[in-house]
């Protein structure tokens, strides 16, 4: 069969999907008696109109890059990791324990140590469902979902019983030592003369996330391990023929996936809150699924989709703040984007494909 050009596949179709989602969102906003143009204006200005807005958009995007990459890596092996939320929570626990109990003289060392802690804890949390899948055939979707709930309980216990400072009322750890505080984009950009908002949470972790994108790309498409991961995702009997151990690949893939989710904690726990709170992940683990779906499991796609969802998160928050549009509607808008870019992909793809074919025939 004939195919349409690649640019249409990777650029045109997502753009049309987003426009459709925006159109329906606009209709919904109209239906509740608000002005969609004004709403869009608020969102764009709030998310992209100032370095403050950008600071938040990029902060959220950093979270989504980690979780999106995690889902993408697992997807290449044919595994659906829904446990990003729990793995990121446990990553936060790792960060908190390492930051609070290890002597860390400088933020550079703290970043590396905390990253190790985050990765280890995230990976460990993914290891159990991975083992159950690899050895026992328990479906990874079920086990990772259940592990999200367990993670929440573990975190709750740790915060209330172990990490909460004496006398404090809320279930949160103590503030991390000042030496572990990561430089924000303001701190990084000031020396080179760029004025960036001081209060926005985007921080050095953004560059760790970008490095993770490059790492995942190289891993999946350049290393023999990535080759084996993709082979397993495409055909299990073939890996048996080729002498690739599916048990080994499932374990390694899920460890990497869990570690990526865990790494998110250096952004939200260490970079932003600078202490561990109960609901630190704010659903980023689940957004990662949508990000990977929209990004076609490719790091470049994940990067772009993460920025888009960062924009939706920050723009939505601004919208709720400055207009009378209820917060529930922001969730509706986000859901519409997920629906159109992910689930209804073929609805847009098929007519466009036909259009291209018809057009080409005319020319021929």
């Amino acid at each position: 069969m004939d195919k349409m050009p690649k640019w249409a596949d990777v650029v045109l179709i997502p753009v049309i999907s987003i426009l459709l989602a925006a159109l329906i969102s606009a209709l919904v906003i109209l239906a509740i008696g608000e002005n969609p143009v004004e709403a869009l204006n608020l969102m764009v200005n709030g998310a992209l109109g100032s370095t403050y807005g950008w600071g938040y958009t990029l902060y959220y995007a950093t979270n989504f890059m980690f979780t999106g990459l995690a889902v993408a890596v697992a997807a290449h092996a044919g595994l659906f990791n829904i446990g990003g939320e729990g793995q990121a929570m446990l990553g936060g626990l790792g960060v908190a324990l390492f930051c609070l109990y290890l002597p860390l003289p400088h933020w550079t060392i703290a970043l590396v140590v905390a990253a190790v802690g985050a990765g280890l804890f995230g990976a460990a949390w993914a290891a159990i469902p991975a083992y159950l899948q690899a050895k026992r055939g328990s479906h990874i979707v079920i086990t990772t979902i259940m592990f999200n709930f367990i993670a929440f309980s573990v975190l709750n216990y740790m915060l209330v019983e172990v990490l909460k400072p004496q006398g404090a009322m809320d279930p949160a750890s103590a503030k991390f030592p000042a030496a572990t505080h990561l430089p924000s984009l303001h701190d990084i950009l000031a020396p080179i003369g760029i004025e960036f908002s001081k209060s926005a949470p985007a921080n050095v972790t953004l560059f760790v996330a970008l490095a993770a994108c490059v790492f995942v790309w190289a891993l999946i498409w350049r290393t023999p391990l990535g080759y084996e991961i993709r082979a397993l995702g495409k055909s299990e009997p073939a890996t048996r023929y080729a002498g690739i151990s599916s048990v080994r690949i499932i374990m390694i893939t899920m460890l990497i996936s869990g570690a990526l989710c865990g790494l998110m904690a250096i952004n939200n726990v260490m970079g932003e809150a600078e202490r561990l709170v109960l609901n630190a992940t704010e659903g980023a683990g689940f957004i990662g699924i949508a990000v990977a779906l929209m990004g076609r499991n490719h790091p470049v796609g994940v990067f772009l989709a993460a920025i888009l969802f960062g924009f939706l998160y920050q723009g939505g928050a601004e919208l709720a703040l400055w207009s009378s549009i209820p917060t529930e509607l922001i969730v509706v808008i986000q859901a519409l984007v997920i629906l159109f870019t992910g689930a209804l992909d073929n609805m847009v793809r098929m007519p466009i494909e036909k259009l291209f074919l018809a057009f080409r025939k005319e020319k021929a």
Partner: protein, 513 residues
């Protein structure tokens, strides 16, 4: 003269730049078996898909029984009396035969009346055409031959006058195939028209009345079967002279490479598939394992190829070059087998031998992807892979020679050439090869057979498993017959024939060798 059952006039169909069917005209007499033969990718399936309403022709007309007929979808095809039996059956595995036959042809909101009516009608059909099946058996409990009968009955139940069969014997044993042709013969005598798509010369020569040959989207000839010969048809198909017999000198067997003693294999369900067999393959010879599919040959190949190390139980001794080959634990997986210079062309190239979504250049390393030649430091050396692919594609005449094409976009024969190239070019001491030419076109069969013989002549040992008796006889130097997990006997290939082997395959002949 009665009007032709089917008449196609000037059918053309293009997929983008590829002209799948070019100005095809054909006329099929009612009450005949009309064969359509051609290599994979010649356009047979496209033509049949047009006739069955899956594709719409760009140009041309379809006439059924003298009437111009539009066939926009398969419903219209069924209404026009056309039934199709696909190569891969379209049956619901956990439904009964009866439920499958009624599926899609229910005539009321409630199922029971349809089913009981169908039961009566099915009985009438069975008697009329001697097509007996148990209506209450579940599809996953009956054999492929039976499943195919269900497909035929499905078409007849929908009042088909014209039956299209696409490669119907691809999955059948010789005995099942014979039964199928008896059924087709019967259908013909009842006045049905049958279009038989195949690339097997024997079926064309023995069972068809007329035969049309397709090559590269064109109908190159339509002839009476009685007035042609296999050689002529092969030449029409391929466009050049083809060797139908394998051209080889007598084997000069050397020392034993593979020695199997008392090997038993039990699968993970606890069923003993291989029951204490002894075999030996020597350097410079081809040992062919004949047998009806499902008698333990697949398991034998898989065990030797290291694909069963973590499943079921394996006992007995397998020696390579005189030293024991581990069957379980360390060194028993497929990777270790490759390190021991055992090449393996698996029986199912699409599920096992290739990753269909991978590019050709990725598939050329499959199983050997950790070889230093394909790696540079931590990363894979993609440039080296592509260079290697180009070289192999040229040597093995893979068409089209495009390393970037995904494996699934090659024809069956060219897919197999990629697998065979990968395994033979490693120059293995022992080559395990299963169903080397299943679903492969004539031109490629000839080529693949030559490559196997060349490897033999280079002093390598080859273990061949095939359900095609013809292939076993023409390619092997020695033949062992497997039945019910046991070796029924061994024969020198030039001192036996299809009849003797056929009896052994049915478990008749004793252990006497």
């Amino acid at each position: 003269m009665t009007a032709p059952a089917i008449q196609l006039k000037g059918i053309s169909k293009a997929f983008g730049p590829v002209q799948a069917n070019k100005d095809i005209s054909i006329s099929v007499a009612p009450g005949s078996i009309h064969g359509i033969i051609g290599e994979n990718g010649a356009g047979k399936s496209t033509l049949m898909s047009i006739l069955y309403g899956f594709y719409k022709a760009d140009k041309g007309e379809i006439w059924i029984k003298g009437n111009r007929t539009e066939i926009p979808d398969s419903q219209a095809a069924i209404a026009a009396g056309i039934g199709m039996v696909f190569q891969h059956f379209k049956l619901v595995e956990n439904f009964t035969v009866l439920e499958n036959i009624v599926l899609g042809a229910e005539d009321s909101g409630m199922l029971m009346p349809s089913l009981s009516r169908a039961r009566k009608e099915l009985k009438a059909l069975e008697e009329e055409y001697e097509l007996y099946v148990d209506p209450d058996a579940r599809i996953d409990e009956i054999g492929v031959g039976m499943q195919q009968r269900v497909e035929i009955l499905k078409a007849l139940y929908r009042k088909a006058e014209i039956l299209i069969l696409d490669e119907p014997t691809g999955v059948l044993t010789p005995a099942e195939a014979d039964q199928l042709f008896r059924i087709l013969d019967r259908l013909r005598s009842e006045g049905k028209t049958i279009l038989l798509i195949t690339h097997k010369m024997r079926e064309i020569m023995e069972y068809t009345d007329t035969v049309s040959v397709m090559r590269r989207g064109e109908m190159t000839a339509t002839v009476k079967t009685a007035e042609t010969s296999p050689e002529e048809l092969a030449e029409l198909m391929v466009g050049r002279k083809v060797l139908l017999q394998v051209d080889k000198v007598p084997a000069k067997p050397g020392k034993p490479i593979l020695e199997i003693q008392n090997l038993s294999v039990t699968d993970s369900m606890g069923v003993e598939r291989v029951k204490g067999i002894d075999l030996q393959v020597r350097a410079g010879e081809i040992l062919g394992i004949a047998g009806v599919a499902g008698n333990g040959q697949s398991e034998l190949l898989e065990v030797l190829g290291g694909m069963r190390a973590d499943r079921g139980r394996i006992s007995g001794s397998v020696k390579l070059h005189g030293s024991e080959l581990p069957m379980t634990g360390a060194g028993s997986d497929a990777r270790a087998r490759r390190d021991a210079h055992i090449g393996h062309v698996p029986e199912d190239r699409q599920a096992e031998g290739l990753i269909m979504d991978f590019h050709a250049w990725e598939n050329v390393a499959f199983g050997y992807h950790r070889d230093p030649a394909y790696n540079a430091g931590l990363l894979m050396d993609n440039a080296a892979l592509r260079a290697d692919t180009e070289r192999k594609m040229e040597k093995f005449d893979v068409r089209p020679p495009l390393p970037w094409l995904a494996a699934k976009n090659f024809s069956g024969g060219n897919q197999q050439k990629i697998v065979v190239a990968r395994e033979i070019e490693r120059n293995p001491d022992l080559l395990l090869i299963g169903q080397p030419t299943r679903g492969v076109d004539i031109g490629a069969i000839e080529f693949i057979h030559q490559q196997i013989v060349e490897l033999r002549d280079a002093g390598k040992a080859i273990l061949l498993v095939s359900v095609e008796l013809e292939e076993i006889l023409s390619l092997s130097d020695r033949v062992a017959v497997m039945f019910d997990g046991k070796i029924m006997g061994e024969r020198a290939a030039d001192q036996t024939d299809e009849k003797e082997l056929g009896l052994m395959m049915a478990g008749v002949a004793g252990e006497a060798a």
